[in-house]
Every structure is written in structure tokens, then in C-alpha cells.
């Protein structure tokens, strides 16, 4: 099942319309449509290779779609890329970082690329560092930080310019339980004032943080509803059962 194309709507901070992408003969993403409004945290779930990261990369402007478009805060990622990207915070899969920089220099670099300078940049870095709970490690080189701290530095980088839209690709991947709880709490808090699209395999995370869950399989959206509604569709009444029932298991890569 694929959701019908949606017209752009000024109420939604993030709108995706008919996004499609192939790699050679393999159709990775097929006519994906979705919307996320301010105050919503939406999960995009699916088996490995289902097309989640490809979808997020196209929305972030890193990957060119074959078809379709995404609007971030009203700006098209296809025709008005810079303006769209100014309104977007993107945490890529694996949370890439410049390991040779200190956390503070990394955030300063990202603040500058988003046009923040002087006192404005300093305040933005302090706020992002506080939100991501990395104030105590700001001056340390990133290469000396633990995986949990690195992930939080990457998240601070995504929010340093206070974007209205956040795209987070597996933000809790590889974190220990305590770090996951802290990260979820932060995302939940930010979700009150931002539109957040989050890719995750953690179903408990979806239930804890997300107001809506989109299930993607074979590059197509197969379900889009609240986590509770989605869980109710499975005989066992659990999200895990719904995930299993609605997807075909491990996708072909």
C-alpha cells in the first residue's frame, strides 16, 4: 500500500511528496509521502534495507531523489536547498564527527556554517551544549570522548542553529541503557517545539517518544498511525507484533 500524494500544507514544518529513488535496478524508495507538524515526533521504522536512511538522506538534501520533493519550513529541498537546509537539523546515520576538533570547535564550525557569529554563536553553542548535556566535555577533543558523548555532540551539532525541523537517523544506536534514557528524554523535550522525524529500530523508543509511527518496507509506506493504533492491529496487541506482521522480515539489500 502506498499513501496518496499530499498537497503542500503551510501547517506542516516537514512535507514529503512522492519521494522515490532507485539504485541501479533496485527501487530503494517508492513514492513516499509524509508530513510532520511542529510539536510532533514521528518515527520511521522498518527492517534493515527498507529505505529509511535513503528517505532521510533525500529529505536532508544529501541524496538526489529520482522523483518527488520535500519541503522544510516551506522551502523545497530541490529548488531552494540552502533555505531548506537552514531550517533543518540533521543527525546522519553513525553520527559523523570531526574527531580532531574539540566539541566546542565542532559546534562553532556548524554555527558558522549556519550564519551564526560572535555572541549569537557563543549563546547558541552554550544552549545546544546544555540541551545535549555535553557542557562538561566541551573543551575536550571529540576523539577522546565515549560513544555516548560523541552521539550527544553530534546531536548538539544538529540543534546548534535551533532549527524548527529535526531529522535523526538512529540517534540512540550503540548507546547504553542510561544514555538511551537521557537521549530519549532530550528528544521528547525538543519534540514539544519542533517537528522531529526519527529513524529507529527501537520499538520501545517509538512508544515512549513518538506521537506517530510510519512503517516502511521495500521502499514503501505500509502503515502510518499512532503507535497504539499500530500495536492494536496485531493479534498480540504489541508494536513488535505489528512490525513483524506488516513487514516481510529482513529486506533484500
Amino acid at each position: 500500500m502506498s499513501v496518496n500524494a499530499l498537497p503542500p500544507n503551510a501547517m506542516d514544518a516537514l512535507q514529503v511528496e512522492n519521494l522515490s529513488r532507485s539504485f541501479g535496478s533496485r527501487q530503494a524508495v517508492r513514492k513516499v509521502n509524509l508530513r510532520v507538524a511542529i510539536g510532533e515526533t514521528v518515527a520511521i521504522m522498518g527492517p534493515n534495507g527498507a529505505g529509511k536512511s535513503t528517505t532521510l538522506r533525500m529529505i536532508a538534501g544529501y541524496l538526489e531523489p529520482d522523483e518527488g520533493d520535500a519541503w522544510i519550513n516551506g522551502a523545497s529541498i530541490q529548488s531552494d536547498r540552502t533555505r531548506a537546509q537552514l531550517s533543518l537539523g540533521y543527525l546522519a546515520e553513525g553520527a559523523p564527527l570531526y574527531l580532531d576538533l574539540s566539541a566546542k570547535d565542532f559546534l562553532a564550525f556548524l554555527a558558522r556554517t549556519h550564519g551564526l557569529r560572535g555572541a549569537e554563536a557563543k549563546d547558541a553553542i552554550a544552549r545546544a551544549a546544555e540541551d545535549a548535556a555535553i557542557t562538561d566535555v566541551l573543551s575536550r577533543p571529540i576523539e577522546t570522548l565515549s560513544k555516548g558523548y560523541r552521539r550527544r555532540v553530534a546531536l548538539a551539532g544538529a540543534i546548534v542553529h535551533d532549527p524548527p525541523v529535526l531529522i535523526l537517523d538512529e540517534p540512540t544506536d550503540g548507546l547504553d541503557p542510561n544514555q538511551k534514557i537521557a537521549m530519549r528524554s532530550l528528544i521528547k523535550r525538543m519534540g514539544q517545539a519542533k517537528a522531529i522525524l526519527i529513524s529507529t529500530h527501537q520499538l520501545d523508543e517509538v512508544e515512549a517518544m513518538c506521537s506517530r509511527a510510519i512503517l516502511i518496507d521495500g521502499g514503501e509506506i505500509v502503515a502510518d498511525s499512532t503507535p497504539a493504533e499500530l500495536a492494536a492491529r496485531a493479534p498480540g496487541g504489541r508494536l513488535e507484533d505489528a512490525f513483524h506482521a506488516l513487514t516481510r522480515g529482513e529486506a533484500e539489500v
Partner: protein
Amino acid sequence: MIEAASPGSKQDAGQVANAMRAVYVRELAAYFLTPLAYVFIAIFLIALGAFTFEIGRFFETNQADLAPFFLFHPWLYLVFLPAIAMRLWADESKGGTLELLLSLPAPVWSIVIGKFLAAWTVAAAALLFTTPMWMSVNWLGAPDNAAIALTYAMSFLMAGGYLAVACAMSAVARNQVVAFVLSVAVGFVFTAAGLPVVASGIAGSLGPGAADALASFSLLTHFEAAQRGVLELRALFFYVAFIALWLSLNAIWVGARKGG
């Protein structure tokens, strides 16, 4: 929250400049906050000194000019400049930061220029450290300082040419060693095309017109006019166009790597 700029506005141009400046500062810091730039400059100066005094026989010419010094610039650039540029894009691929960089609110070409300018600044610093040679010839005699200044300027432009090739090769290759080898190979082609031995070979087989045409694409050919103290506008145009061409290829190749 950040207010986004209107399309095509002055704010757009300002945003491009912001991103370019940020990339330039980040790359410059990567050079100068690590031993990389210092080691490069030191080895470059030692090599240049050795070539100038040992092979160029600087003191034995008994002339107050820098001809033996400038003679080796193209050949040293050919080997040394790829060493500072090879990391620029290959490292981004290796470290997984290409996605971070290419998701920034800036066109690819602005990031390409930011990185190139940082590497060119290191080359400029290396060149600046050779100015005691210039002072020395002024102490020894009365050189044509205008001609020396012109040759320095053209040497700087020529360094930009070699660096632009190396930046583009770094975007093609996924590791630094391959980027270095490709840069030296491509740079050698655009240097050797101006050698008399190559010109005579081409003239013998394809005619003098073909030899002249080939030589006109050589970084060496256009530098030789400056070494004679002659400012040729076509040389100036050549270097600027050469840099622009290779930076454009760099941007195209980086764009093609988007999405892994």
C-alpha cells in the same frame, strides 16, 4: 530560531560566504593546529634550498637574481602540493563526514572553494618563508625587484593550479595515497607538456603547430615567461582558467559522490 533567507536574496549570498568562510577556517585549523602544515613547509623549504644551491648553483651564477630558485618551483609543487591537498576530500570519505559536510546549508562549490583556499594559504605561507632569498639577492647586488615580485605572483598562481588538480583528484580517490599518486600523474602531464624534449618530439611527429598547442596547456610554459620578467595576460588567464576548470571538476565529482 533562524529566519531563512529568501531565494536569490543578498542573504543567500551571505549564507554562501558564511559556509565558505567556516570551511576555510576549519581546514586551515586542520593544517596549522596539527604538525601537517609545519612539516610540509619545513620539508618544502629544505628541498627548495637544496635544489637552488646544489643543483641550481645559486652562488656560482654571479648574478643578483632568483632564476636558479624559481627554476625548481614547478617540480617541487608537482610533488609537494598533492601532499597537502590529498587529505581534503579523501579524509571526508574515510571519516564518514562527507554526509555531514554535504548536508550543510551551502552549495557544493562553496565548500570546494573553502577547502581549496585553505590549502592555497598553506602554499602561500611556504612561499612567504622563501622571501629571505629575495632579501639575500638584494644584499648581494641590485636585482630587478619588479621582475622577482612578478615571478613570485605567478609562482603563487601556478601553485594554485597544482593544488586545484590535487583537490579534484582527492575528490575522485577514496584514499589519500591514491589521491596523491593521481595528482602527481595528472600534474606531471600538465608540466611535461611544456618541456623542450616533449615539444620537439611532438613537433617531429605531429608538426610545430601541435607542439605549440600542447605546450600552451603546460603550467611550465606560462611560468617561463614570468621568469623572464614578462607579464603575459594569457598566462594570467591560463592559470585562472586552469584553477576554475579543476575546481569545477572537483565540485562535479564531489556532487556525484553524494549519497555514497
